[in-house]
C-alpha cells in the first residue's frame, strides 16, 4: 500500500514537473530561435562619468556621414532601474548604434560597480526587445571600465557574444601615473580577468597631449589595461593617438579614432579582406 502511494505521488510529481519544464523549454527555445535567427549585431556605446546619452552624437554624425546610415537608440538607466528609450531602431539595420547611459553618472569605483549592474539590466532589456546575441562595444573613459567590469562579473556567453571591445582613454588605474601603484579597482579587475570572454578582440586607445596624459587620464593608467586583458582575450591591441583632438573629452571625435571604430569595430572583416 505504502509503495503504491509512493509510486502514485511520484507519478503525479513527474507530471507536474514535466508540464512546467515543457513550458520552460518552450519559452527558452522560442527566445533562442529568435536570437538564433536574428541578424542584428548592434554596436553599444557607454559614455564616461558626467556624460549623458548624447555624448556620442558628434561621433555618430561622422560615422553616418561616411558610410551607410546606422539607426540610433539611446537608453538611459535611471537610479531606480527604470529604462528610458530615446530614438528608434530600424529593423532592417544590421548594425544599429545603441548608447547606454546612466542617470547617476558620478565618478568612482563604487558607482562603476553600480553602473555595471545597470548596464546588465539594459542589455537584458535590449535583448528581449530586439533579440540579438552578437554585438560589439565601445566605452569612452569610465565607460570602458563599466564594460570591463561587466565582462568579468555579469557577461553570460550563453546569452551574448561580444566580438570587439574598444575603450577610449579608459583609466584602468584611475589617475595613478605609476604602474607600480595599483588601485583597488585595478587589482579587482586583474583578479577576475579569467572571466573575460576568450574570443574577444580588444582595442585600448589612449590619447596623448604631452607624452604623459590626455589632459585628464595618464597614459600609464590606460596602459594598465594590458594587465587585465593581455593573454586573456583573443587579441589585445594598444593604440596611442596624438595631436589635435587627442585630449580626453575629444577622443571620440578624433579622426584617427573615428577611422579605428570604422575599421576595427564596424567593419573588422572588410579590413581583413583588404589585407
Amino acid at each position: 500500500m505504502k509503495n503504491k502511494l509512493l509510486l502514485l505521488l511520484s507519478l503525479l510529481m513527474l507530471i507536474v514537473l514535466g508540464f512546467f519544464a515543457h513550458q520552460n523549454i518552450a519559452q527558452s527555445s522560442d527566445k533562442e530561435a529568435k536570437l538564433q535567427n536574428s541578424r542584428m549585431a548592434p554596436i553599444i556605446f557607454v559614455p564616461g562619468s558626467s556624460a549623458t546619452i548624447n555624448r556620442f552624437d558628434d561621433l555618430f554624425k561622422e560615422l553616418n556621414a561616411s558610410g551607410p546610415v546606422h539607426s540610433i537608440l539611446k537608453v538611459q538607466v535611471n537610479k531606480n532601474n527604470q529604462l528610458e528609450f530615446h530614438g528608434k531602431l530600424n529593423p532592417q539595420d544590421r548594425q544599429p548604434f545603441i548608447v547606454v547611459g546612466f542617470q547617476d553618472n558620478d565618478d568612482g569605483y563604487s558607482n562603476i560597480k553600480r553602473q555595471t549592474k545597470w548596464l546588465n539590466t539594459a542589455l537584458s532589456a535590449l535583448q528581449n526587445r530586439y533579440h540579438f546575441r552578437h554585438f560589439s562595444a565601445v566605452g569612452h573613459s569610465n565607460g570602458g571600465l563599466v564594460w570591463t567590469n561587466y565582462l568579468e562579473q555579469d557577461y553570460d556567453s550563453s546569452s551574448f557574444n561580444i566580438a570587439t571591445l574598444m575603450t577610449l582613454g579608459t583609466p584602468f588605474n584611475f589617475s595613478e601615473t605609476s604602474l607600480q601603484r595599483r588601485t583597488e579597482m585595478l587589482n579587482d579587475l586583474i583578479a577576475s580577468n579569467n572571466h573575460l570572454p576568450s574570443n574577444l578582440d580588444m582595442y585600448s586607445v589612449a590619447g596623448t597631449e604631452d607624452y604623459t596624459d590626455d589632459g585628464i587620464v595618464p597614459v600609464e593608467s590606460v596602459l594598465a589595461g594590458k594587465y587585465i586583458y593581455q593573454n586573456k582575450v583573443r587579441s589585445y591591441t594598444q593604440i596611442t593617438v596624438s595631436g589635435d583632438n587627442a585630449e580626453h573629452s575629444s577622443l571620440p571625435e578624433n579622426p584617427e579614432v573615428v577611422n579605428l571604430i570604422q575599421t576595427k569595430v564596424i567593419h573588422p572583416d572588410k579590413k581583413l579582406i583588404q589585407k
Binding site: 519544464a21 523549454i25 538564433q36
Partner: protein, 403 residues
Amino acid sequence: MLTYFVNLSHHWESKLWRRPAFQSLVTALQQAMPVIAVDIYLRLAIKLILAPNALIVKLFKINPAPFKTFFAYMVTFLSLADVAAVLIFVAALTYQYLTHLGHRDTSLPLLTNCLAVFLFFGDKTQAPIFSMTQYFVITLITLFSSYAYHQYCAHYHASNPYSLPYLIWSGMIIIISLFLHQIFRQHVFEFFLSDIWTQKFFATALGLLIMTTVAPLLYLLGVTLPPELAAPSPNMYGVSSNLHAFLSTGQSALPTPENVYTTYGAFTLFGGVGNTLAICLLLLFSASKQQRHIARISWLPSLFDSSYILFVGLPLFFNPLFIIPMILVNLMSLVLSYLAIWTHFIQPIVFVAPDGLPNILLPSIASPTPIRATIVTVVIFALSVLIYRPFLSHITLEVPHEK
C-alpha cells in the same frame, strides 16, 4: 544465455563477498549509510529549492533571494557532512578489516587512515574537497594502509601500539598520501576522461558503444565519473549544432542526430548510471524488509538521478552482481534509442532541459516528438526492470537472516 549471465554474476558475488576486505567494505558502507543519507537529502534540497538555479526556483519563477543565506549555510553544512561521511566510512572500514585480520587495538591505524584520507583530499589554500563519489580512491588508500599495517605488525612486535616502529609506519602512510595528493590534485585523469567524451568519435555508433560499456564499470568501481557521463550534458559533440540547426530551419534533418546526448544521456541515466531507478523499483517490492527500507529512502533521490543511497546501501559499489546487468541495460537502452532515432520513429532531443530535472522526463519534454519519445522511454524503463529482475531475484525474493 540470460540464465548463464545470472549464474555467473551470482558466482562472482558469492566468491568476492567472502573475502574479509569485501565483507569489511559492506559493513563499513552500512555504518556510514545514515550520514550519507543525510548528505544526499541535503544535496537534493539544494538542487531542488535552495540553489540560485534550483529546479523549483527556475520552473516556478520563484525569487531565490530569501534562500540565499540559508543556501550559504547549507553549503557549509554539506561540506561538513561530506567530511563526516568520508571519515566514518574510513574509520569503519579500517576497524572492520583489521578486526577481521585479528587485530584488537586499531586506534593508531584508525587515526592514521583518517588523517591520510583527510590530507589526501586537503589543500593548502582551500578547505578539503570531499566528494562521496570518490569511493575507489578512499577505499584503496584505507585498505592498502590497513594491509600494510597488518604486514608491518607481523615483523615488529611491541606492546605499546604507539611505540616508535608503529609511528614510523604511520608517518610513511601519511607521506605517501601527501605524495598521492600532489599527483591527484592535478585532476589529470578526470580532465582526460572529461575531454575524451566530447570528441567526435563518441558520436559514432562504435564510440557510443564503448562509452555505454565503460560508464557502468567506472561507476561500480567508485571512480568519479566526469559530468558528461553522470548526467545528460549539452557540452557533448553535436548538441549545440543540432540545436542551432533545429532553431534555424525547424524540423529538418539535424547534423548529428545520434550523439551522446540524444542516446546515452537521454535514455541510460534514469535514476543514475545504468537506469538505477529500475533497481530501486524492484527493491520497493522486495521480500526483505531491509531492502524495502533502503529502496524507500533512496526512491526520491533516485527519481532525481542520485543513486548514491543505493550505491552504499545495497551496495552497488564494487558489487560484481551488477556488472553484467548494468552493461546489458545500457546496451539495450543505447540500441533501442539509436534505432528509434535512426528509423525516424522519434526526433532526437534537441533542447536543453533545466538543471535538476529528472532524466526520465528528458526525452518527453526535450524531443520535438514528445509522445513517441515517451513511448520509447516507457519501453526502455520496462525492459531495464526485466533485465535487472533475475539478477536481483535472490535479494528480492529471499529474506536471508532477517527477523
